[in-house]
Symmetry: C2
Subunit: 589 residues, 2 copies
């Protein structure tokens, strides 16, 4: 009971001060996040009168829990369903924002003569807007239900995914020192693979498990199970060298498909609020106010660049994707700030020891300033649109109007099926199944050293020869992935059939039409499966058996497959239906 | 992001295992708490295959947060109002349970040849029943609304207070090695003083502040403010050398008087559930299963002693306080286990290094066993009562019946005012005001060294002479306590008047009746104030000015008082009304 006084004192100082500033900033009608950061600065080691925190390490650890809960909550609000709805517009706007801001950030850094790595991280820091700030600002202004707000949330979802990709890429660049296209491709491919597979398996398993737990009506059980899944998944992700933020976000997105989403959100909210307060305080703790004075000039430049850059890039992206000027202006002015992701990226740079110390306080200062302006900018969007509309020369306005009409004419009448929409579904299914197959073989290769390491005595006794160990591992992976391989084969066949129907027209092929069509639909899947085999062999090269044994294994597998074909089809269909059910289920109110 | 992997791994292991056992134990219809402890044993260092926790210290710290939230929640459920309702019966039952179990525990310890301190701590460990287990068991059996359950909750509240007194006393005994009546008296007096003053000031300040915060409708703000108050108060309590459990419980009890009680309970519940799970896991972590085998014999004896002892002591207490035999049996069988408080007391013994290492695992084992039996015992209460009723000889039954009738005849007809009920209120008010005055002077004495220490340069410049420093401090305390001193004077006067009316009857005093009455009502307050002065002087002896200066200060104060008398009366009345308002306000549904 008595040994934790220092810790309790730290927590008391943090929470009491946080409590005071939250009330104060609410009265001043400023975002509470700013208050937390200010509280951190007051508590921190750089400001007099004395050091108020004894054990900064423990508070930092609690702040890290804040990141987990914050990202988990973002994941819960993320929804694949919502993403499909806003779709293309959000992707275009988010991409144009991120690319432009990355470039602006990098150029500003270079202009100030900072190192390449500092400039790159500055670009990444400026690229992503703050979901927390935007959601708070919009709900405080009562605009959360407006259609432009829905679009903004879509953009934020796309940004979240791209931000995670950026986190991974930045870690890679920081470790290798440069970004080769090959490495970027492999890194992003692995990330995509990991995300796809965890989403598919997660959505199959987790919501079902939570439904079972939730039956008891006990909030405690549900909460502890949710936290159990959350931290276990985070651990897996961290073990795979991804950031804990990614893990928390993904498991949140998985749980977003649960029927009990609203109960989970309710239970997690207090944990998120308490620990994210600590997280934002720890940001202030790291902030040295003298750095802000020393770097007042870059801070001012970057703040203006963020506000103008985001309005232009995101607004333009929205407009180019076919929204009207008013919506575009509103969207641009809403996203014109940086926030929690910027801190995460900045602290990534610090922990990897590739960025200079001044970058972090600059990020915090810019975030604070842009956050301050956010509510005023959102409110100023409509008047500004009107003024711009009045001031704009008639010819320019006409060009903009014609662009909108031209875009509208491009769109197919709704309901009319295109080749694209027909094939898209099949291609998506093939991709997902391929991803699972790839993940199974990658997992087997990744796990191989552990198996031989931990079970060494046991395995060496029964399987002394190294090639035989490989045979067992590789055939195991093959058997597990069989239902998915069968599915890939069958989907490829139907895709080939479909394409053959379209491309081989009777007018040209004459009486050979159906023969050619069948030839294509038989040949394409076989060739594809050969490609799949080469891919799998490349991915699992570390556990691939020697050629002779490999052929034996493949022959056995082929034999097994003739027996198990129907079972494979059935098990895959069951999984697919289960996935679709979970996916289409609406959460309980 | 990357430095906390060990910590995340620990948390993942703890929460994932907790999640699994919570579901498992729910299926087995056993209390989840047992599952958490079992999970702790599995994770812990004493069981193979390998150590699953890297940084036990951090998990222990989080478990300590669990104690804070657990005690805070208990405090929230504690209510002075509820306590007054069940009143006497609960006090009698709880006292008889605690005294008997303390004695039984001490005797068992002595019989096994354990040291005095071990035996004493064993007694304390067995004395208090587990609120968590009882609330869960009763709500799972659907008996929460029955009248005996209300009585049980009353007993638990009284036990909580007595447990806290016991914690304080045990710390004292552990440090001095023995319990002298004088030290016990002073310790309990100080505790009572501290609790009274914090409750009064807390109930005046905290619910009002929370009402202000709650106006914003923001759950985040309310939660952070609640946590701010909670940890700040815990810090104060820890600084005064009380346990953090006491602090969390008291601030919870203070917030229980807030109008927003239910919102606060709702917000705290997830924090409590998450961290109390960790707390119970840490209990398992400390449990060495081999100790259980070595001490199987004491564990069995103590388990039987707890169950039989509590049924007899608490049941008998309930019966003696005037309830029927069936209720008494139900109450006795409901409270027949030990729980969280026992762990807190056991770990107190360990951290103070006065108990042997085996006491803690024994406490955990006995708690686990008695917790297991609780639901069955509650269900067995009614059948057992019937069987006992049948088996009881007629004469014994008659004696019990007559006892009930005799008790009933003792009670005054309701509504009839007695001297006791008339004076009780005034005496209570005098006591509370005296407590506040005492706390102000004690606080000034306690704070004096800090003032001279921190402000040393400043104070020495303006007040070089030590006696003048005392004068300033002491007169400051006097001025602050003036409204309460005036209140004490006025209440004493009306008490004296009341007593004079009753004791000086015209039949005896004849024509001097009113003169004597007035003399008493004038004299008693003056004599009392002299007593108050002596008390205050004794409490503030370290800052009491030398006699000459003291007389001067008192004269000045008297002069000031003539001017401020009306103001003092008014400010005190305002505070009293504010207190009563908060107290009588019902929480929002």
């Amino acid at each position: 009971m008595h040994h934790g006084i220092g810790f309790i004192q730290d927590l008391a100082v943090v929470m009491a001060l946080a409590g005071v500033v939250t009330v104060l900033f609410h009265r001043l009608k400023q975002p509470v996040v700013l208050g937390y950061i200010a509280a951190g600065v007051i508590i921190g080691p750089y400001t007099p009168p004395f050091q108020l925190i004894h054990d900064e390490q423990t508070i930092q650890t609690l702040g890290e829990l804040g990141v987990v809960f914050l990202m988990f909550s973002l994941g819960l609000e993320f929804s694949l369903r919502k993403l499909f709805k806003v779709g293309a517009t959000a992707v275009v706007a988010a991409l144009s924002e991120i690319v432009l801001m990355l470039w602006i950030g990098y150029e500003i850094g270079s202009a100030f003569g900072w190192s390449k790595m500092d400039s790159l991280f500055l670009g990444a820091i400026l690229a992503i807007s703050s979901t927390t700030i935007i959601v708070k600002a919009l709900s405080e202004l009562g605009l959360k239900r407006e259609s432009f707000a829905q679009l903004v949330f879509g953009i934020l979802i796309v940004e979240d995914i791209l931000a995670i990709a950026m986190l991974v890429l930045l870690s890679g660049i920081a470790q290798t020192g440069e970004l080769s296209a090959g490495i970027a491709f492999v890194t992003l491919g692995k990330l995509l693979l990991f995300m796809t597979v965890s989403l598919v398996i997660g959505i199959l398993v987790v919501p079902r498990a939570l439904n079972y737990v939730a039956k008891s009506q006990s909030d405690e059980m549900l909460l502890v199970s949710v936290l159990g899944f959350c931290f276990a998944f985070c651990l897996l992700v961290v073990k795979l060298d991804y950031s804990i933020a990614l893990g928390a976000f993904l498991i949140g997105a998985i749980m977003a498909e649960s029927r009990h989403l609203h109960r989970i959100e309710h239970l997690i909210a207090p944990l998120r609020d308490a620990f994210s307060a600590i997280f934002f305080v720890t940001i202030g703790l790291m902030l040295n106010p003298t750095v802000l004075v020393d770097y007042a000039w870059p801070i001012a430049v970057i703040t203006i660049a963020v506000i103008l850059g985001k309005i232009v890039s995101c607004g333009l992206g929205t407009f180019l994707a076919g929204k009207d000027g008013r919506t575009a202006m509103r969207v641009g002015m809403t996203v014109s700030q940086i926030g929690e992701f910027s801190f995460i990226i900045a602290s990534l740079g610090l922990t990897l020891k590739v960025t200079s110390a001044f970058l972090y306080p600059i990020a915090v200062a810019v975030s604070a300033l842009t956050t301050l302006f956010t509510p005023y900018l959102i409110r100023a969007a409509d008047p500004l649109t009107r003024r711009v509309g009045h001031a704009m020369p008639r010819t320019v306005a006409n060009v903009f109007g014609m662009y909108g009409q031209w875009l509208g004419s491009l769109r197919p009448a709704s309901g009319e099926p295109t080749i694209f929409s027909l094939t898209r579904r099949i291609i998506l299914q093939i991709a997902v199944n391929l991803a699972i197959v790839a993940a199974i073989f990658l997992g087997a290769s990744y796990g191989a050293p552990y198996v031989t390491l931990y079970g060494s005595g046991f395995i060496e006794k029964w399987l002394p020869s190294e090639p035989m160990q490989r045979v067992v591992l590789w055939s195991g992976a093959l058997i597990v992935s069989m239902p998915f391989l069968v599915a890939v084969y069958r989907k490829t066949k139907s895709l080939a059939l479909l394409l053959a129907e379209i491309s081989v027209q009777p007018a040209k092929a004459g009486r050979f039409t159906s023969a050619i069509r069948y030839a294509i639909s038989d040949l394409v899947p076989v060739v594809s499966m050969l490609g799949v085999f080469l891919l799998v062999a490349a991915l699992s090269s570390t556990i691939l058996p020697p050629t002779g044994l490999l052929v034996a294994v493949l022959l056995c597998a082929a034999l097994l497959l003739t027996v198990l074909w129907r079972w494979c089809v059935r098990i895959h269909a069951t999984m697919q239906i289960a996935l679709r059910e979970t996916f289409e289920e609406q959460p309980d109110p």
